[in-house]
């Protein structure tokens, strides 16, 4: 790259692809009414026009017009058709990586229905082929590519943690046969984890193990490829996303697992269940469900018994964007939580209208934007404070991490728990 000149052939190819009508539709639909502004946490936090979701989408759309439309080619200034140069690319990095969690809240409220996160993802794809992914995010992806998990946890360390949690489970269940099975073949459930669990929150592993124990489940975890996350979804590099998705796909086949159960991670669930088959260009020949859906099925089928009175503190739910708005799990999450607690107070707004925690879109991995991330999190902090709850439940470890930081920064005085943890606390175990 020299001065403001750069190789733009590859990024522009991304905007020229005609796989389906989604790209053309979204590049031509925005009327720039600006009514999406108040649906975006960044705009609400900063009140600056560049944070309006439509303005972020316009960065990509303007390049599309310049190189893919007749009007953009002959009269660029009339139609705001912009060239892709260094200045534009830098702005895209700042706005598309640093000022959008791809939560999709703006989409639902858009007067037209423009899929802004889809456009943002296209912009990130362009930046990825220009090697302009923020270094911190790319290092997270590289760790997953090189070690099989995004925190680069050595296999021995992971196995030690699992063994430790297994001992805890044996003690708690008072059953020497209680297990956290590693690398076992032909199991019904091939379970996955967010690496934050073995690294920072190992008790969440023992919580889900307790649930599996109570349900009498046949399950296993891979000691090497257990990572449910896929930051390739966020860095915009589809080849890398495919490689990461392929780890789980290959491992479940190797261990002949019947059902891929996605641990509590919003983007990981989305990237594996919804995007994974597309990355790998194949239909999965095994069932893929989230831990929330599996636990819900245990409750419905009477495989586990819960006592709500064991969780009597007022709780609220933080809906992970990729599980609720972009994953359709609103009712399943409510069903499980209401089965496990006696006092639920919803946030306002909630469900598909809920605000992102602020840590999505890879934001947690990008320390360059920490200040912004914590500032936009004030909206979530206010929602939690207004709910009056003392416990916040969320089935996403990335959300847990962001909420822990918000809890500390905004002095909320709440406890953050996953679904498995709250369910484990309500379990009635028949110890024979």
């Amino acid at each position: 790259m020299r001065g403001n000149e750069m190789d733009i052939k590859k990024p522009l190819e991304i905007l020229s692809k005609k796989d389906d009508s989604k790209l053309e539709t979204n590049m031509n639909s925005c009327v720039k009414c600006g009514l999406c502004a108040e649906s975006c946490m960044y705009y609400l936090a900063f009140k600056e026009p560049q944070y309006v979701p439509g303005a972020k989408a316009e960065l990509v759309s303007s390049i599309y017009r310049r190189y893919n439309t007749f009007t953009g080619k002959i009269a660029p200034s009339l139609f705001n058709a912009k060239e892709l140069d260094k200045e534009m690319a830098d702005k895209m990095v700042d706005m598309l990586f640093g000022a959008c969690t791809m939560c999709g809240r703006c989409v639902k409220h858009c007067s037209i229905g423009v899929d802004i996160p889809y456009i943002v993802r296209k912009g990130r794809e362009m930046l990825a082929v220009m090697n302009m992914v923020p270094a911190t995010l790319q290092s997270t992806v590289d760790a997953a590519l090189n070690t099989g998990n995004n925190m680069a946890i050595p296999q021995e360390e992971f196995v030690d943690t699992i063994k430790w949690m297994e001992e805890e489970l044996i003690d708690e269940m008072e059953d020497a046969n209680a297990r956290i099975p590693l690398d076992e073949t032909d199991k019904n459930v091939f379970y996955t984890l967010n690496p934050r669990e073995p690294k920072f929150f190992p008790l969440s592993i023992s919580a889900i193990a307790k649930v599996f124990y109570a349900a009498g489940e046949s399950w296993t975890i891979s000691s090497k490829y257990y990572d449910v996350t896929n930051y390739g979804f966020f860095n915009g590099n589809n080849d890398q996303a495919a490689q990461i998705a392929g780890y789980l796909y290959d491992e479940i086949h190797k261990l002949r697992g019947k059902k891929l159960v996605l641990g509590e991670c919003g983007h990981g669930s989305r990237a594996t269940r919804w995007e994974g088959p597309g990355y790998l260009k194949t239909k999965f020949d095994f069932e893929t469900i989230t831990a929330v859906e599996l636990i819900a099925s245990y409750i419905r089928e009477g495989k586990i018994t819960l006592d709500k009175s064991l969780n009597s503190t007022k709780v609220t739910i933080h809906d992970p964007c990729n599980l609720v708005r972009n994953g359709g799990l609103f009712n399943e999450i409510r069903f499980v939580v209401k089965s496990a607690v006696s006092d639920l107070q919803e946030m306002s707004p909630y469900g598909e209208d809920n605000f992102c925690c602020g840590g999505g879109g890879g934001a947690l991995a990008m320390s360059e934007y920490n200040e912004r991330r914590i500032k936009i999190g004030a909206i979530k902090a206010q929602q939690i404070a207004k709910s009056g709850a003392k416990v916040v439940i969320t089935p996403c470890h990335n959300c847990v991490d962001q909420l822990q930081q918000l809890n500390h920064t905004y002095k909320l005085g709440v406890k953050i728990m996953t679904i498995a943890e709250i369910v484990a606390d309500a379990l009635v175990i028949n110890k024979q």
Binding site: P49, H109, E287, T288, G328, N331
Partner: protein, 211 residues
């Protein structure tokens, strides 16, 4: 036909041709080829995308901005009325003249209100920082021409302006429509279909809060 009527007809023909070409292209391209296991109904999602999801109470862009929302609704009704009136004015002027005056004035009055709504939206764009920030000439021109066609349609049917003014405005409107952002009148429907497809497959739409 006068020269300005021929100009307007050619413009309308070009407009329809370009929009039809885009429509055929979009249909040919089709929906994304999803390989994931669906957990909801695409059909129900698409139906909801055009119904429940469009309800003012479902969108912050509506219930948090009621004056703009209502201005937008009136403005769009005025736009479609103006489009409908073009062939009527061009080909059925005798029938138009035979209608009771009260009907003519009601239509003209409605179009005047929609033109005022359009002008209001244009002024809002001019004076609002966050809109000006990412607005281009096209946004102003599209808004202006769409407002203008409503105004001149209102005026021509009460014979308050010379036909040449109406037809030249119509020609400009038709030429700009498939080129500028007014073409969202086509893309809007595809955007809603894509949203319904996306959220329907994943079971997010239709929204049914069971608990």
């Amino acid at each position: 036909m006068e020269w300005y009527q021929i100009l307007a007809v050619i413009s309308a023909f070009l407009c329809i041709t370009l929009l039809t070409t885009k429509l055929v292209n979009l249909i040919k391209l089709g929906l994304p080829k999803e390989l994931s296991q669906p957990s909801g109904s695409v059909k129900d999602g698409i139906v909801y995308s055009f119904t429940g999801a469009m309800s003012p109470k479902a969108k912050e862009s509506a219930y948090m901005h009621m004056p703009t929302y209502f201005a937008g609704i009136v403005y769009h009704i005025g736009t479609f009325t103006s489009l409908f009136m073009f062939p009527v004015i061009l080909l059925l002027s005798d029938i138009l003249e035979s209608l009771p005056q009260i009907i003519i004035y009601l239509v003209a009055g409605g179009l005047a209100i929609s033109a005022i709504s359009g002008a209001g939206i244009l002024i809002k764009r001019l004076i609002t920082d966050k809109l000006r920030y990412f607005s281009s000439a096209d946004d102003y021109i599209s808004n202006f021409l769409t407002t203008a066609i409503q105004a001149v349609t209102a005026l021509i049917i009460i014979s308050a302006i010379p036909p040449v003014l109406y037809y030249i405005t119509a020609a400009a409107f038709f030429i700009w429509l498939p080129l500028g952002k007014t073409k969202h009148l086509l893309y809007f429907f595809f955007a809603r279909i894509h949203l319904g497809y996306f959220y329907g497959r994943r079971g997010t739409w239709p929204v049914s809060k069971k608990n």
